[in-house]
Symmetry: C2
Subunit: 295 residues, 2 copies
Amino acid sequence: MSESIGFIGLGNMGQPMAINVLKAGYNMKVYNRDQRKAESITEAGARSGARPAEVVERGGIVITMLSNDEALKAVTLGHDGLLNYLGPGGVHISMSTVSPNLAREMHELHEKEGCSYVAAPVFGRPEAAESQQLWIVEAGNTAAKERIRPILEAIGQGIFDFGEDPAHANIVKISGNFLIAAAMESMGEVFALAEKSGIDRTQIFEMLTQTIFSSPIYKNYGKKIAEKNFQPVGFPMRLALKDVNLVLDSSEQVQSPMPFASQLHDRLLSGIAKGRGESDWAELTRGIADDAGIE
Amino acid sequence: MSESIGFIGLGNMGQPMAINVLKAGYNMKVYNRDQRKAESITEAGARSGARPAEVVERGGIVITMLSNDEALKAVTLGHDGLLNYLGPGGVHISMSTVSPNLAREMHELHEKEGCSYVAAPVFGRPEAAESQQLWIVEAGNTAAKERIRPILEAIGQGIFDFGEDPAHANIVKISGNFLIAAAMESMGEVFALAEKSGIDRTQIFEMLTQTIFSSPIYKNYGKKIAEKNFQPVGFPMRLALKDVNLVLDSSEQVQSPMPFASQLHDRLLSGIAKGRGESDWAELTRGIADDAGIE
């Protein structure tokens, strides 16, 4: 476990993930654009770098957990980017939810340098990241995946392998986020109908999630939506729109129309237009209430 | 358990439900428009009536399980209808998925005759009815609900009470069917995107339903949709359209827009236009494949 790991991106998700890797016994160097966010993890024993390049060892392993394509490109490419320092045998574990196209592009750029790009996006909110309960979807070079397995095991409760093309892991990830948003919209429509019909929102939520919809997504998000309690913010609406846009880009690319995704795009865009971009994405259901003339 | 029960409507769902009531030790008289469908249950010990009125005892209990509003009106109203014979103290357990408006109308008509109309629609396919695994949503007069409880317990694995207004049980039921259809559309869109992107539909189905979507609806319908295997027909698309129309009627009535429901209406209508009205409603996802130019 003496291997040294670079970790880039210490946001809501990255921070608890990095702490779990550190706890598993790895040496760690961290980088975050806003260096103050690195403080709690350096106190826990990690070292901090001033540039992405400083946390990378030649032939080593670096993890990135960033909010979008631009952020991933910014830390990976260019003179100070990690790719310039990773070198032959190195592995870049890219856990961000980014576009499948960028995953393909990154894959090729890493191959040229003799290193590997493994896409390993995760499902789960910050609480799940803290308690090592994330689900990880991985795709990339087989030998690289074997090498990084113990690290992923320190981060998540389960790993699902989708083969050698890193883009596939990203398609699965954004598809999952689309399904969550669709489940929230569906529940929001039902709870608004119930409320306006004189039925207790919470009661219909409980019946459904104790029976045919007894899954974490319906239980956890359904409770927030039924009770109209959207705190704390686990995933902001702004990023949810980014992900639905990624789904729509992919659907456009392979010519596979997704009418629910198109509708969710407008729902999220409207939420952001109403000033809810930094609110939890479950607040997309407030748009349904707005449309129905209720709170 | 010597109480005699009338049972009207021996279709895919009614037949196994009636058999479970019979097995619980009740005397039973059955009526079905097509009398041949009554044969297996009369062989099991029930008696058969030639008209709805013949299976009803004054002050007794009668169960109806029919496919739509018209069928329920046909057996309930008029000279030969059950309501003319049920009389004071009688209870009509209406388990069909009918419109909330009809439930309200029936409630008033039954009250005038001194008897009770309890709405008790169910969730579950014919296999679930056979194995006594239905979920029952009930609403109606409190004393009547107490009296019929052992009968409902012989039919389902759980009962959820939604108060005194029978229409509320029907709103909950059609909302549940809407949620199922929305989950199927959502999965269908994702699996088509996956397939066209070169990802195994079954693999993405398995990942999702082993993790964040681990509920019966996603597992059971997701498997059919991932594998494109829609046999046997548990619930025909024709009736699914009926239920989505009921949801849209309710949403219109209370002014609560439901864009996903509107979209599902067109999806189901198109399925029926393509000759799939008698196919299982999971085949609504074939419309997604059609739109994407795949099988």
